[in-house]
């Protein structure tokens, strides 16, 4: 096993030192790889946790300003560390465990949810060279690991032994499985032009100005982008597709029995998931880290946060679909449209239009 990460931006020095450390004190090569991956894991994990906390605050502020109020204002400048305090509060809270729960499933559900949310970042290109591992099946890997979330939600729904939670878990299983298909097919539409599943290849094939981004460059790119965003909102369980935790129907859905840090894990995982789907959109459709003048990671973050902003605006504007309408929309509209899009794009590629 060798480490693919060498150039890690400005952190290069630290990582180079870590890279040398096990060898210099005479440990075998396998230890070197473990140390490196552990260091990378901690880095990505802490950056993303902080980012999730930021997103919670940002969403609250955006929602507040849409609704003509201020949102958090008391803790720091415009309440900037409100969510940090909230997380600390949740850490101190009593972990309420109901007697009738399924002990193992109830315990592991938030863990699985939290871990699954972070797994996708192994192959996420944050910037030029800023990637943990450039797997050659990158996008396929992301699609595979993000689906773990649904197992966690089903576990939470089942393990809580609560009817609302069970309904929420069942809803999320049905929803995520249905929307996974249009999501993957939308991405495939782009991938047939790239000819590679690697995230780095996808980004590099869009280098140059914005008209090289896949949303503008290929035919049906805009359609694929829109279908992807719709499916992504459903994947991230957000309004108008937030039926698994529909407050007015199921109170809180699958996480109704969770409190304290376990709840916080579900909550943060939700925001990490939102960031994930936005980051994929930025990478595949909006050119990833490509952009002039500014450092590559600034472009990546800027594009991702723009997509996040879009998701937030949608959330605070639209009503929620009903569970059967949601399924109808997926199977009767989104799946046919994305497949037609894929076939047309494939035919055009085969005929030799658009490199």
């Amino acid at each position: 096993m060798s480490c693919t990460v060498i150039a890690f931006g400005e952190l290069h020095g630290i990582f180079a030192w870590l890279h040398e450390l096990p060898v210099s004190i005479g440990l075998p090569d396998s230890v070197q790889a473990v140390v490196m991956y552990a260091a990378l894991g901690v880095t990505v994990f802490s950056v993303l946790s902080l980012f999730a906390l930021f997103l919670v605050w940002w969403e609250r502020k955006i929602a507040a300003h849409i609704q003509q109020r201020f949102g958090p204002m008391r803790v720091g400048w415009h309440g900037w560390y409100q969510t940090v305090m909230d997380a600390l509060k949740l850490l101190q809270k009593e972990d309420i465990r109901i007697e009738t729960r399924d002990k193992v499933v109830f315990f592991w559900a938030p863990v699985v949810c939290f871990v699954a949310a972070f797994l996708a970042y192994v192959v996420m290109p944050f910037g030029k060279g800023l990637i943990v591992a450039d797997l050659n099946i990158g996008i396929l890997y992301i699609m595979a690991v993000t689906t773990f979330t649904v197992i966690a939600l089903l576990m939470a729904g089942w393990g809580s032994n609560n009817k609302y939670a069970l309904l929420g878990g069942m809803r999320s299983a049905a929803q995520v499985v249905s929307y996974e298909i249009p999501m993957v097919v939308s991405l495939l539409t782009i991938i047939i032009y790239v000819g590679s599943l690697s995230m780095v290849d996808i980004v590099e094939s869009q280098s140059g100005w914005f008209f090289n981004w896949f949303i503008f460059r290929v035919p049906f790119g805009p359609i694929a982008f829109v279908t992807y965003i719709i499916a992504a909102i459903a994947e991230a369980n957000r309004t108008p597709f937030d039926i698994p935790e529909a407050e007015q129907e199921l109170v809180a859905g699958y996480n109704i029995e969770y409190s304290g840090m376990k709840f916080a894990m579900f909550f943060l995982a939700e925001f990490v998931n939102m960031f994930t789907v936005s980051a994929i959109a930025a990478t595949v459709f909006l050119g990833g880290w490509n952009g002039p003048f500014l450092p590559s990671w600034v472009w990546f973050m800027g594009k991702t946060l723009t997509v996040v902003l879009l998701l937030m605006l949608v959330r605070w504007t639209y009503p929620r679909l009903r569970v059967d309408q949601l399924m109808e929309f997926a199977w009767k509209f989104l799946v046919p449209v994305t497949f037609a899009n894929l076939i047309l794009a494939g035919v055009l590629k085969y005929l030799g239009y658009w490199e």
């Binding site: 929602a63 003509q68 007015q248 109170v251 504007t317 009503p319 929620r320 679909l321 009903r322």
Partner: protein, 367 residues
């Protein structure tokens, strides 16, 4: 393949649930997502208002009425005052009647604004709730300016109103009318033609005119089913016969119609307020009522059109200072009885939408 065994299960929706608007408990029998049967359980907000009134003098009962229907406390104040005035055949000064009409209609708008926001929130759109409450705030400010209270006004008293409006009330009220008229396009643009909104409300929870009548539905719920009936016009009380306003009705009686009905009614209420402000006479605001007020022996039933429907008060007197019996009629009680009727074989999300558009509030049911 072996057949999968399924079974129905029961879910307790409430008494503490985000969309039961207070402390209503609905026992749902569900088959997966589908609601097979609904059984409302009431009584969690029972405060024995009617019984307490028997131990108080007539003017002392007035503040109790604010708690009868606290979303439109002006209406419940008024229905009791009207009953006692009928009983004692009190002459109410004309200025007081005008002020009452202004307050009643403002309160109707406030209630419909809450309805607008809460219904949107129950169907998953959070933002309208804040918008609705924002405009309601202006009305509440007008009330606070007049009587010092923001929820339980105790403004409409037996024989008149508690105090006159301040000088700045009229310009502020006119400014509010102008502002709200401008906001309607926002309200309509936000939801009325939204495809998700239409999918969630059109054809959901259809209430036929026959069912509506047989269950004693009234107010916007009845008019949304196409029945043109409004006590303000059909059994005029106060000075409503002096004003020119239309009674909007809808056709099908589904959730969407009940939603649009309230928006239309707000516009008519604005017209009434404008006319009342224009015609506001000078003069007394309260007839003389002694603290030991003794109406003659007898019984009376008064009814008015509150924001939710027919609100009634039955008062019986034996000639002493205290009423023998006070019975209040809230339209939410009848509307809650409609829930099991129109909520069978719907999805749980539809149940929430139906419950929201019937605009049931629990203090009126339990009293």
């Amino acid at each position: 393949m072996a057949e999968l065994r399924t079974e129905e299960f029961q879910v307790n929706m409430g008494p503490h649930h985000p969309s039961t608007h207070g402390v209503c408990r609905l026992v749902l029998t569900m088959d997966g997502e589908k609601v097979v049967a609904v059984e409302p359980v009431i009584g969690y907000l029972h405060r024995a208002i009617e019984k307490i009134c028997e131990n108080r003098t007539y003017p002392q009962c007035s503040p109790m009425m604010d708690r009868f229907e606290y979303v439109t406390a002006m209406s419940s104040d008024y229905v009791y005052a009207l009953a006692v005035e009928k009983l004692a055949q009190l002459e109410v000064p004309e200025r007081a009647e005008y002020l009452r009409v202004i307050m009643l209609e403002l309160n109707r708008i406030a209630s419909h604004l809450i309805f607008w926001g809460v219904t949107a929130m129950d169907i998953g759109a959070y933002t309208p709730f804040l918008y609705g409450l924002r405009e309601r705030e202006d009305i509440i400010d007008l009330f606070e300016m007049t009587c010092g209270q923001r929820l339980t006004y105790n403004y409409i008293r037996i024989g008149g109103v508690s105090r006159d409006i301040p000088k700045e009330f009229e310009p502020k009220c006119r400014a509010f009318i102008k502002k709200l008229r401008g906001k309607f396009s926002d309200y309509e643009g936000l939801l009325n033609e939204n495809p998700i909104w239409l999918a969630r409300t059109k054809g959901i929870g259809v209430l036929t005119p026959e069912t509506a009548i047989s269950y004693g539905a009234s107010g916007p719920v009845l008019r949304a089913s196409g029945i043109d009936y409004d006590l303000r016009r059909d059994d005029p009380y106060s000075i409503y016969d002096k004003f020119d306003f239309a009674i909007p009705t809808q056709k099908t009686g589904d959730c969407y119609d009940r939603f649009i009905q309230r928006l239309d009614e707000m516009k008519e209420s604005l017209k009434i307020i404008e006319q009342a402000l224009d015609g506001l006479p000078e003069g007394e605001i309260k007839a003389k009522v002694k603290p030991k007020f003794k109406p003659p022996e007898g019984e009376v039933y008064s009814r008015i059109e509150s924001a939710r429907g027919e609100m009634g008060a039955y008062v019986r007197s034996d000639g002493t200072t205290k009423p023998v019996r006070v019975k209040l009629r809230g339209s939410s009680y009848n509307h809650l009885a409609l829930v099991p009727e129109i909520c069978t074989d719907v999805l749980i999300a539809d149940l929430v939408a139906i419950f929201a558009t019937l605009d049931i509030i629990m203090p009126e049911v339990d009293r």
